[in-house]
Symmetry: C2
């Protein structure tokens, strides 16, 4: 038999599969499972009627360009619309300072390739979005984890790490952050931290890659639009590449996202995109443009915010009722995720047990460059229905009780009644 | 002002814009232009009625997965359909030996990343498809051009180059070919050359990347389906990665293509795709699947073959009538392109003049790794109507006459009446 391994490049060998995608595949394979794992939007919230009407108009055959190859930069009317969409977020950009990408994952991949060479340092939060970690990691950049607190990335830690890496002679000029309802923590970076980060980037001559898929989905009971204002809105010199997407506000199946940034970098990203996929889906871009230009996108946002906020509250109530103080978390002010600590629990070990109870989530450690976060758990409240959320958390509590019983029999009752406080238990070696 | 150049990686700086895409952008910018440049399919041949009916069914909202994130490998029913689609081409593959990509450009990009490291050698035909050249080039592989004759790639030249590169200590294990109606030459590699290439790859332990976007579009007046049988159909040991696409048979706006190959390589390509774009357009894949499963795709192919064959004949007649022996070419047996030699003409210089006459094409040299082919010209007969083709060639003949007059006044009448034979003229320095 032919030895195929030898045909792989070093980078091909070094590529890692995404832990989240693997968990997602489990979810797809078991229909009776309650999945709190992947950060999927709720398809019941998609504007189906609108989409059907748009398709009927677009596919008349009178405009061949709708299904033809398109320009690499993107569908021009959509590019022309982006400055207005961005201005709602306080960002000034012209239509030459934007590019459409095939989902934000492509945006991350293009940034990784255009900005980093193997061995270059990219700073990410601890924890950080795994999709960014794989994009920069597959470009063979060195990911360096930076502490974050409830207000966002820790600038002092970031500075210490930067100085250290530069002293070692490393090229270290990129920091990747998700200030709005971060994946996985759901944290909202506060305003002063945003300003400090930008000022620091200027002082240290660093480029910020700001990823903002969830900013429009803030929860009005805990925050407001003003608090989601991107770092990019304060960027007067082109020091921020701002990534956002229609995946959470229109639908992810369309694969339409974008980057806003200084024109010379956008031009380079366009060249990279040419060889990556020539152009993003032409019909997909038209759908998104039509939904935007009809006003349906903007008009639909309050409904999305309310729906996701409600689901977040359902999840929090269920967690309090079922897990008591066996779980702690910072209340999500927006987005799709609740990030909980289960003190004393190895959440990778718990995963197998949860799967037996037909509920899945994403364990914490894949989000950590330093492989920490063993007692953390990412619970997505976005796609499941309120009933599924309640049942899912109940199943999780059952699994947790069993896990405690197995690892520390004396504390078996701890999960439900909440009498017991956090405590280290031996980590299981089980791995899903 | 901030110095943005310094943020670029070495690979980011080294990336090159595609000459074809640039020419294509010119075409998009001038509506009154006749474009014989980009290899676009004819949108009048798309199955619009079918698409509209499919959209109406799919977008009812009853199945949320239609617009949700999908599996990285692809929409499972489409993956399950590919073995049958491949079997029509004589290829045996299971549904674990295929992956969907966001157009064949992404397939090329993934292959480049998974198979080559900077400095590795990739052999390509002289001339070769520019999209493959940029994909492998942007991965910083070294492209080495191999002679081809009317029957396909020159195995002796390929072997000589491989031996030389390996003697230099270079990793040289990939050859990229387009055996069916190659872009840009339109050439059909003959059967014995295909067998020889595969035998050579086995002997020299080389992996073949076989790109086949046009195979289904053979012209029955000059060839038959049997002659388009891919090299992959003879591959018993997994030595061929076979790329194909629905862009030319369904529509390119959907961005759905695929790779068939040995399972271990497909698994690696899947990991690479995770970080490239998570998944291809979900709705796009559904459209393609529905068109296939309804039988409309297969049923529509004879009509496509006839239409493109007719346009090819219209272009050949126009060339004979307008240019006489000022142009020579091998009659295309399929695909989208007529590749002509204009003896003594610098086709890059001619481009500006042709643009004044409101016709565009792609000059030959961008297709050559060694920057040869200055007197070649790629004319796409695929997208233009018969009338546009006739008018376009007439305009080209006018431009050519002017060009001859400018560079060699004594021969100004040569183009139309065809009395003059090929002759070297000084190359213009003009560049579009």
């Amino acid at each position: 038999m032919i030895d195929l391994e030898k045909f792989l490049s070093r980078r091909g060998r070094a590529m890692h599969a995404s832990a989240i995608r693997q968990v997602g595949d489990i979810g797809l394979a078991h229909a009776d499972l309650i999945s709190l794992a992947p950060g999927f939007p709720d398809p019941q919230l998609f504007a189906w009627d609108e989409f059907r009407a748009i398709a009927d108009r677009l596919l008349s055959g009178s405009d061949g360009s709708i299904l033809q190859y398109g320009a690499t930069r993107g569908y021009q009317p959509l590019l022309d619309a982006l400055p207005e969409i961005l201005s709602h977020r306080g960002i000034r950009a012209t239509n030459t300072e934007v590019i459409i990408t095939t989902g934000s994952q492509q945006a991350l991949d293009l940034c990784a390739r255009v900005l980093t060479d193997p061995g270059d340092v990219v700073f990410v939060e601890l924890p950080a979005y795994t999709g960014a970690m794989t994009a920069f990691g597959n470009a063979r950049a060195q990911l360096v984890g930076v502490r974050q607190d409830e207000q966002g990335i820790d600038i002092a830690d970031l500075d210490r790490l930067l100085v250290g890496k530069r002293a070692d002679g490393r090229r270290a000029a990129i920091v990747y952050v998700v200030p709005n309802f971060q994946n996985p923590t759901g944290l909202l970076m506060n305003g002063s931290r945003r300003s400090e980060l930008l000022a620091w980037a200027l002082r240290r001559d660093v480029l910020i890659v700001e990823d903002d898929p969830y900013g429009a989905l803030y929860f009005t009971d805990l925050t407001s639009r003003d608090e989601t204002r991107p770092i990019k809105s304060q960027d007067n010199e082109g020091r921020v590449l701002y990534l956002s997407s229609f995946s959470k506000t229109v639908a992810p199946g369309f694969r339409v996202a974008w980057i806003a940034g200084p024109q010379p970098l956008i031009a380079r990203l366009e060249v990279a995109k040419q060889s990556a996929d020539l152009c993003s889906g032409t019909l997909d871009q038209r759908f998104v443009y039509e939904v935007w230009t009809s006003g349906a996108l903007e008009a639909g946002l309050p409904r999305l915010r309310t729906a996701y906020q409600t689901k977040r509250s359902v999840m929090e109530q269920a967690l309090r009722a079922e897990l008591g103080n066996a779980a702690t978390w910072v209340p999500p002010k927006g987005g799709f995720f609740l990030w909980a600590t289960l003190p004393g629990i190895d959440t990778k070990a718990l995963f197998g047990r949860a799967l037996q109870h037909k509920v899945i989530y994403v364990p914490g450690s894949p989000f950590y460059v330093d492989h920490g976060g063993h007692d953390r758990i990412r619970l997505a409240f976005s796609a499941a229905s309120p009933d599924q959320i309640r049942n899912g958390i109940r199943r999780l509590a059952d699994a947790l009780r069993e896990e405690r019983e197995a690892t520390d029999p004396g504390r078996a009752e701890g999960a439900r009644d909440g009498r017991h406080s956090a405590e280290e238990t031996p980590a299981s070696t089980a791995d899903q």
